[in-house]
């Protein structure tokens, strides 16, 4: 037993030395945990932000100008004025997401109580902006008109007042969310590719065969790969959460980072097992590359980190229950944003460990066979 642990330790150290020798790979890992996270968190926001608006103002009255000027950053880009004829083009090309048409004589008709119509054309192919943006425009115009006619803002006339509190992220700042999700994606992609490719490389270079004539078991070889590559990724994840998300991005973390990193370590085991399993399926590096893409892409996109799980069809939700990343995303959100403790997330821990165990058993079953497959 002691010998087994010492073997796993030794082989893992070897693995770290190999990784250290590949400076290009190291550079890519560093980028994945720093620059990639920062640029994606800062640059992309799913809330209404900088939405491009164009206005066809056929009235050119003080009132129409007043309405248009009410559409301000950060939600909207400063509106552009265009001609009516250009409307189709800008929407077709996706240049503007909203085109507002204010009819001629709008101010006069409004004053005369003739109920003029403002038309808001929305590019409904931009799912994330169109609905939220439309309701913003409607609310902004309604209160501007109210203010224009009564010269006061009065929200108290409603018989029921609604006081909304947004918890965990009061201003619904997008990058609070994006930073952590991007970290999870980097962890996922790196672990699967690193561990799987390391396995195939040893197989192609014949060193794996060499290990198999020594008093080592496939389990020891696998565990060595998992702990060493996992350690590198775990350090990367810690740097990403503490240095980038909390440090550079200034996101307040409400829960325990240590608890999150424990979950991360568990997840690494699970993802690494998937990586090795994929490597035992592929006969060559090109096949492994394709398999990786075919696995990593749906894992990333359907984890619940890009779009909410509730929105997915039931069947997809059920399939994704078999993927450890679903639980990892859930526990990360729970711990880091909502400050959840172990008593809340233990089930996710358990699920990740169980799926990891399943894949490592599958990989183990195919281990020897896959070594002979490449040799023929």
């Amino acid at each position: 037993m002691k010998a087994a642990f010492s073997n796993i330790f030794r082989l893992g150290i070897k693995e770290l030395r190999s990784l250290w020798a590949d400076k290009v790979l190291l550079g890519l890992i560093v980028w994945a945990f720093t620059g990639a996270i920062y640029s994606s968190a800062k640059g992309v926001s799913q809330e209404l932000h900088n939405a491009p608006v164009a206005v066809v103002d056929e009235d050119r009255s003080p009132l129409s100008g007043h309405l248009v000027n009410a559409l301000t950053p950060p939600h909207f880009k400063p509106p552009r004025y265009i001609d009516f004829g250009e409307m189709d083009r800008v929407l077709d090309q996706g240049i503007d997401s909203f085109v507002i048409v204010i009819p001629a004589d709008f101010q006069r008709d409004y004053a005369a109580g003739r109920r003029p119509t403002i038309q808001v054309n929305i590019d409904a192919t931009n799912m994330s902006q169109s609905f939220i943006g439309a309701s913003y425009i409607r609310n902004i115009f309604a209160s501007e008109l109210e203010e224009y006619s009564t010269h006061r803002r009065d929200e108290n006339i409603s018989p029921i007042r609604m006081v909304t509190h947004v918890r965990y992220n009061p201003n619904l700042t997008g990058y609070w969310f994006g930073g952590v999700m991007e970290t999870i994606e980097s962890v996922n992609m790196l672990t699967i590719i690193l561990v799987g490719a390391a396995f195939i490389r040893e197989r192609e270079h014949g060193t794996l065969e060499h290990l198999l004539v020594m008093p080592l078991t496939p389990l020891q070889i696998m565990m060595a790969k998992i702990w060493s590559n996992g350690l590198v990724v775990l350090i990367g994840a810690a740097i990403a959460v503490v240095g980038i998300v909390e440090g550079a991005l200034g996101v307040p973390i409400s829960g325990s980072i240590a608890l999150f990193l424990c979950g991360c370590a568990l997840y690494l085991y699970s993802a690494a097992s998937i990586g090795i399993f994929l490597a035992t399926l592929a006969r060559s590096m090109p096949q492994f590359g394709l398999l990786c893409i075919l696995t990593v892409v749906p894992l990333q996109l359907l984890s619940g980190g890009i779009t909410p799980r509730e929105s997915m069809p039931g069947i997809i939700q059920d399939i994704m229950l078999g993927a450890p990343i679903t639980y990892f995303v859930r526990l990360a959100q729970g711990i880091l944003y909502r400050g959840a403790g172990l008593e809340v997330v233990w089930k996710d821990y358990l699920a990740i460990a169980a799926i990891g165990a399943l894949f490592s058993i599958l990989a183990l079953l195919r281990f020897r066979r896959s070594v002979t497959l490449t040799q023929i």
Partner: protein, 899 residues
């Protein structure tokens, strides 16, 4: 006659290592010239420089009077040169058949189809490969691979044939056949010059003129008789040419006699059989090897020696039969049984990135040597195998002979009782081989280690106590070398061996004479040739077709992903879980809750009991929205006191939070509006704001997402397919064909790209059919415009993969780099969920400079906005601009010579 090649003060360094130092030599034309010398002498480097495969660093080389430095000059000489690099079949394409390999080389030299066909038939017949023309190169034996390599080299009828150790690792019979073939060729084409590097001194004796090299310098040139001088043979003469310091360590090897009998059996194998599918690699082999014996294993390439050895180590499970080591059954599953065996595989299989010391130390620890003994053991081994000087060098930096010594040191680190060595001296020079055998002798005679060794060198076989001859999976004979010689009445073991093989049915000396070849046409090296480009494309597509797994992964995989992603990525926010903390329990409060629960966006959960449980249930992520209705809500509402409702929203997912906020406000104002109408009658608002959702009136994700998933899939899959295109050739060695043939970089890259563009377009067709028929998302605009745009797009995305492939060195880095370079920009910066125009800073520019963002507009535009060619000129222009830029970058990063 002028020399065929003139090498003038040429030096070459690899980093700090000097490979060639101020070499000057004039190689005579129209004869057979041999290069001899120990490992690391610089033979291969010199040949690579002459052929133009490696970049010249210092000095001057002229071939056919042409300066090999400039690319344009080189292009004049290269069509007249053929170069066969070191390694069995290293420049062949393993999945292509013999005939296809030769054909693809013909295309590289611009030969016409009819011409190619006659040449291929002639060459394959002359080399005895005609029966194997449809067999993949990977499945040919080593000797056949070398003959095939020769066919490929000769297809364009070169004036200078450069062969780098063509017979290393080839069995004696095949070697004999190979040289017979060369002789026939030269008889037919007396004008052809041949330059050969070899490790076999007995081969070198047959050459017309020799160049002896050592440590990057030339130590002697001339006819073999001249070099031999007074020495008995060339091997001895060569050793005498070496500097004093190197000669000192060498002495004639004498191995004391081995044990006679009665010491027990180390290996006993009975009826050992291994089948791979239909093919029987090892057919009922019996072996019995005495403890302490040196037992040699000889046989033609691919006869099953390696497979037999692997079965004995437990790496392979025999299909039939049994093997015992020291009386115990071989058990692959029992690691403990491996402690008594040391194994050295045919190819170098230590960790190249670790140092000599680290490799030894690692293996000592993995064999669980006691901690206090490891240090002593490792330093003793380093002293014994002469590795002390290079203890801190990485293993990959060692010359071949040193590496083999390190491998042997590693194999004996745990003091095994049995060593299984699979061609340990292949490619190792005579001096290094002798010192290797010295070590073996010591191990065997002094430490009583049993040695089971396979080799192609007859003088090594002579040193064994007993040998077995194997052919086509069967053992033909086993006895002492002397007895085997006597049994065949042969003078040498080599003769005996060949005679056994011929009896075993291995006699396939080529019978067909080599017809006089017509001077091949198409020799002028034009700067750009469509036919060469198509030749590369044809070869690449053949290789792709031979890997149906990859092809089906690519096609079925993308269809499968489309299903999952098309349905799965949904921006519709529905089924938001909410619960109510109702402190009022009045009819009004219940009506209000019913109203919210009636919305299709919300799903009601069991009521919240108190503030504490609201806290807990939200932090567990169970609730997206919590609503608190204060006491007295109903009463306040009735008397018009504006009661206040508290709403808590989970903001952990900002997008979902934003949508939830919008929904709940909308529902509230609707409820309030209804109340006002009920009380006061209908008062129309002063301004009508009419919202017109265009292109997607139902506001369903699928119409927005399916056209957006297509761009994702058409960047991920084509780029990863392409990304290994060049780097794999770099790792496997066939890239050398780019270096030494007239193919230009542009032809090479575009030719490689073409098949992948075609595969990607097939994928596109499948995806569109799926979108229309499976998802019911119609193509409203011009299908022709979409197809044209897609063609531009996949040319750009494969171009991206190609670019990554040209500058990475390993396949791992290429896969990794492609994943990083495509995943983030495609998912985040291309407008999949957030339009590019709303991105900030670097993300915005990343989106602009990534083809997916432009194609996404195009795809969505044609699918949902009914756009036509004229609406999409900006997108076409942007996509088209990527193609020349990416190609130019790839061309500039790809080397036409090894550096």
């Amino acid at each position: 006659m002028p020399p065929i090649a003139r090498v003038d003060s040429v030096s070459l360094r690899y980093g700090d290592v000097k490979a060639l130092e101020d070499v000057f030599v004039e190689i005579p034309a129209e004869i057979m010239v041999g290069l001899i010398g120990p490992d690391g002498a610089g033979k291969s480097s010199l040949l690579a420089l002459i052929s133009g495969a490696r970049r010249l660093q210092a000095g001057r080389i002229e071939v056919f009077g042409v300066d090999m430095k400039g690319a344009t000059h080189r292009a004049q000489a290269q069509p007249r040169i053929a170069y066969m690099p070191q390694g069995l079949g290293r420049n062949l394409y393993p999945s292509l058949s013999a005939a296809e390999n030769v054909d693809s080389f013909g295309k590289l030299f611009g030969l016409r189809a009819a011409e190619r066909k006659t040449r291929i038939d002639e060459l394959l017949a002359a080399t005895g490969l005609a029966d194997f023309r449809d067999r993949p190169a990977a499945k040919l034996s080593g000797g056949m691979k070398q003959k095939l390599g020769l066919c490929c080299a000769l297809i364009h009828d070169p004036d200078l044939l450069i062969l780098d150790e063509p017979t290393t690792g080839v069995d004696p019979l095949s070697r004999l056949q190979f040289w017979a073939l060369i002789d026939t060729l030269r008889a037919r084409r007396p004008g052809m010059s041949v330059v050969v590097a070899t490790a076999y001194m007995e081969e070198a004796e047959r050459f017309d003129w020799l160049v002896a090299m050592d440590a990057g310098r030339i130590v002697g040139t001339g006819r073999p008789e001249k070099l031999k001088g007074k020495s008995a043979n060339l091997e001895e003469a060569f050793i005498n040419l070496l500097p004093e310091a190197k000669r000192k360590g060498h002495r004639t090897l004498v191995i004391p006699p081995g044990p006679k009998d009665g010491t027990g059996w180390a290996i006993e194998a009975e009826g050992l059989t291994m089948r791979f599918g239909e093919f029987t690699a090892v057919d009922h082999v019996d072996l019995s090897i005495r403890a302490g014996e040196i037992f040699g294993f000889l046989g033609s390439n691919g006869c099953g020696k390696t497979t037999t050895m692997k079965m004995l180590t437990g790496l392979l499970q025999p299909t039939e039969g049994r093997a015992r080591l020291f009386g115990r059954e071989v058990d692959a599953m029992n690691p403990e049984s491996r402690r008594q065996v040391g194994y050295m595989s045919q190819s170098f299989s230590l960790y190249g990135e670790l140092t000599v010391f680290q490799n030894l130390d690692l293996h000592a620890r993995l064999f669980n040597l006691p901690r206090d003994r490891i240090k002593g053991r490792v330093s003793a081994l380093m002293a014994r195998f002469g590795l002390e000087a290079c203890a801190d060098l990485s293993a990959s930096a060692l010359p071949l002979g040193m590496r083999q010594r390190l491998s042997l040191a590693v194999a004996v680190v745990h003091e095994p009782r049995l060593l299984i060595l699979d061609e340990p001296t292949s490619g190792v020079d005579p001096v290094a081989r002798d010192s290797f055998w010295q070590q073996l002798a010591t191990l065997s005679r002094e430490q009583r280690v049993t040695i089971f060794i396979s080799t192609h060198f007859m003088n090594e076989a002579e040193r064994c106590d007993r040998i077995s001859l194997m052919h086509a999976g069967k053992v033909l004979a086993s006895d002492t070398p002397a007895a085997l010689r006597a049994a065949q009445g042969a003078n040498s073991l080599e003769e005996a061996f060949i005679s056994y093989l011929k009896k075993g049915g291995a006699d396939r000396l080529p019978q067909a004479a080599m017809p006089a070849a017509p001077r091949a046409a198409g020799k002028s090296a034009s700067s750009f040739s469509i036919s060469r480009l198509l030749g590369i494309a044809y070869r690449e597509s053949l290789e792709l077709r031979r890997d149906p797994v990859r092809l089906s992964f690519a096609l079925i995989g993308s269809v499968l992903l489309m299903f999952v992603l098309g349905y799965g990525i949904s921006m519709d926010v529905e089924h938001l879980r909410f619960a109510v903390l109702d402190r009022d329990h009045s009819p009004e409060s219940r009506a209000y809750v019913r109203h919210i629960a009636g919305s299709r966006y919300f799903v009601e959960r069991r009521p919240i009991t108190d503030a504490k449980s609201l806290e807990v249930r939200m932090s567990a992520g169970e609730l997206a929205i919590a609503i608190e209705i204060p006491p007295g809500f109903g009463r306040d509402l009735r008397i018009g006191r504006h009661p206040e409702i508290g709403v808590w929203i989970d903001g952990a997912l900002p997008y979902r939070g934003e949508m939830a906020l919008g929904y709940i406000r909308g529902i509230n104002s609707q409820y309030v509006g209804d109340m006002i109408i009920e009380r006061k009658g209908n008062i129309p608002p002063p301004v009508e704001i009419s919202l017109r959702y265009r292109y997607n009136q139902d506001f369903r994700s699928i119409y927005a997402m399916v056209p957006a998933v297509i761009p994702l899939l058409l960047v991920f899959i084509p780029s990863i397919l392409m990304a290994l295109g060049v780097v794999r050739e770099k790792e496997l060695g066939s890239i050398v064909n780019l270096y030494v043939t007239p193919v230009t970089r542009l032809e090479f890259l575009l030719g490689k790209q073409l098949p992948y563009v075609a595969v990607s377009m097939m994928g596109y067709v499948a995806l569109v059919l799926q979108a229309v028929f499976a998802f019911g998302v119609p193509v409203k605009g011009s299908l022709a415009a979409l197809t044209f745009g897609t063609l531009l797009y996949v040319m750009a995305t494969t171009g991206l993969g190609l670019l990554i492939s040209t500058f990475t060195r390993t396949q791992t880095a290429a896969i990794f780099g492609t994943a990083i370079a495509t995943m983030l920009p495609a998912v985040q910066f291309s407008g999949l969920t957030t339009p590019v125009s709303s991105l900030d800073g670097a993300a915005y520019w990343a989106g602009q400079f990534f083809p997916a963002s432009h194609y996404l507009v195009l795809s969505r535009g044609v699918f949902t906005k009914a756009l036509d060619f004229s609406d999409l000129t900006a997108q076409f222009a942007a996509l088209a601009a990527f193609i020349p830029v990416l190609t130019a970058l790839s061309v500039s990063l790809l080397r036409k010579q090894e550096t």
